[in-house]
Symmetry: C2
Subunit: 276 residues, 2 copies
């Protein structure tokens, strides 16, 4: 891996580039983004230069797609024509089924789907950091056995990520529960309070409410494509959650066991970093 | 206010005592708790001595009930016989309707219901701190106009709390949305993940899941009495929330507006400390 193109140099793309550098990658890193973003990314030392997609892809042996999902899908439709044969194309999109389907058309490039379970509230390359992927699960979908894929996985480990292979269907089903459902819940909770509690009373709350409504601050720009490409899994997760909440509402006698199960599950979520 | 009895010297009772001391209260503070708790409370400087309820109440002009709700209800049934006439009895219970009803029977004591919107994950007097009430809303229910009540409110302000008068019904309706609903949601979310995501995949989640499941770690010992004394308001809050979540699930086209409303509401929750 000598030259890497990062398409979409935001928080994730910028952090991946910074992490490569910190881990000792001494090849060239080319950014593909707006001019303002390129300038900022060069300033923080994430990339060496900016180029249009076609030129960047033609010069690279790894193309890292870190755009919103819609942008990844559009890039996948044009990338095959401009890469050198055998180039590894990978992505960092938050859903995988739609992206893996779109990547089926690639012939010259080989594709490996990816999803780093990393992020923070701030967006943009200005918030990028080399340690963003440290100890975070990094899901991979597709053939990890090629030389290029093995090289990429080696770099993921060097930057501290925890690579895990999953099918795209299993990935999307899991994140519907662990990421997309919590987002919808937080938004719905904030709306419920907005509609049912007088504005001057919203200070009458415990500190827990701030945690519970943090995801509601998320930008829809990030989430639009996630929900658009994972509708059935998200609907199933919402249904499963509402069934459980409905049981807690209907049967006060079930609460003690529910607290025990919820507490155990919450503790496990905190304990689990690495996965098989 | 010369002598204060704190009944139940845990996180809240202990913090109230420490806060009084820090704010310059130089009267006597008597604790009513188990011997082990009394010893610990004396060690951290929260109280001067421990006594049984009867002796403590008879010696005090403020009795501060900081037990779980069930304990408060039991103490209210016996306190009137043992206080001096005119003694102010107040409580720190998380629901107010049931407690205000139980306090209607008081004849010798005057009662002022209270609920400090303060707390933290750790319990017990060992976690108590003088600044726990600083900048936190402190709801009061009942007659704040008596001399004893005015004196108590002055002390609340000295310890940094933000006193707010509410009817018990309005209080219980508001906290059903801002405290009890978030607790049930967090528990139900943790259970949903426990039941629908394989244990080895619970690391496949964004950092937001830790926030969203923090309340699920709560002890049922604290929550049992809260739910038992606020059933109808909690049920109404769950219904309102499920209606909104159901709308988000059914209509993807509504998500953009929902994110805008949720984000605005979440920002307001963060901005609101003081209330009317």
């Amino acid at each position: 891996m000598n030259t890497v193109a990062v398409v979409g140099v935001g928080l994730i793309g910028g952090s991946f580039a910074l992490a490569l550098r910190k881990a000792g990658f001494d090849g060239s890193i080319i950014g593909v983004s707006s001019q303002a973003t390129i300038d900022a990314a060069i300033r923080v030392g994430a990339i060496d230069e900016g180029r249009p997609l076609r030129a960047a892809a033609a010069a690279s042996d790894l193309v890292y797609l870190a755009q919103p999902i819609g942008g990844i899908l559009r890039t996948l439709a044009e990338i095959d024509a401009v890469v050198r044969p055998g180039t590894l194309v990978t992505d960092a999109g938050s859903t995988k089924v739609a992206i893996m389907e779109a990547a089926r058309g690639l012939r010259r490039a080989q594709f490996l789907g990816g999803h780093p379970l990393a992020g923070k509230e701030q967006r943009g390359v200005g918030s990028a950091e080399a340690e963003l992927f440290r100890d975070r699960v990094y899901v991979l979908c597709g053939d990890c056995s090629t030389a290029a894929a093995r090289d990429f996985v080696t770099w993921l480990k060097r930057i501290g990520a925890l690579p895990v292979e999953l099918t795209p269907e299993e990935h999307d089903r899991v994140v519907a529960f662990t990421s997309h459902l919590p987002q919808l819940i937080s938004t719905a909770l904030a709306i419920a309070i907005h509609r049912h509690v007088a504005a001057e009373y919203s200070g009458i709350s415990g500190p827990g409410l701030v945690d519970s409504t943090r995801l509601a601050l998320s930008s829809f720009e990030v989430w639009r494509d996630i929900f658009a490409t994972n509708q059935s899994s998200v609907a199933a997760a919402v249904d499963a959650f509402m069934t459980i909440l409905g049981e807690l509402r209907a049967d006060a006698g079930s609460l003690e066991n529910a607290f025990a199960e919820g507490s155990e599950a919450a503790a496990r979520i905190r304990a689990t970093k690495a996965v098989p």
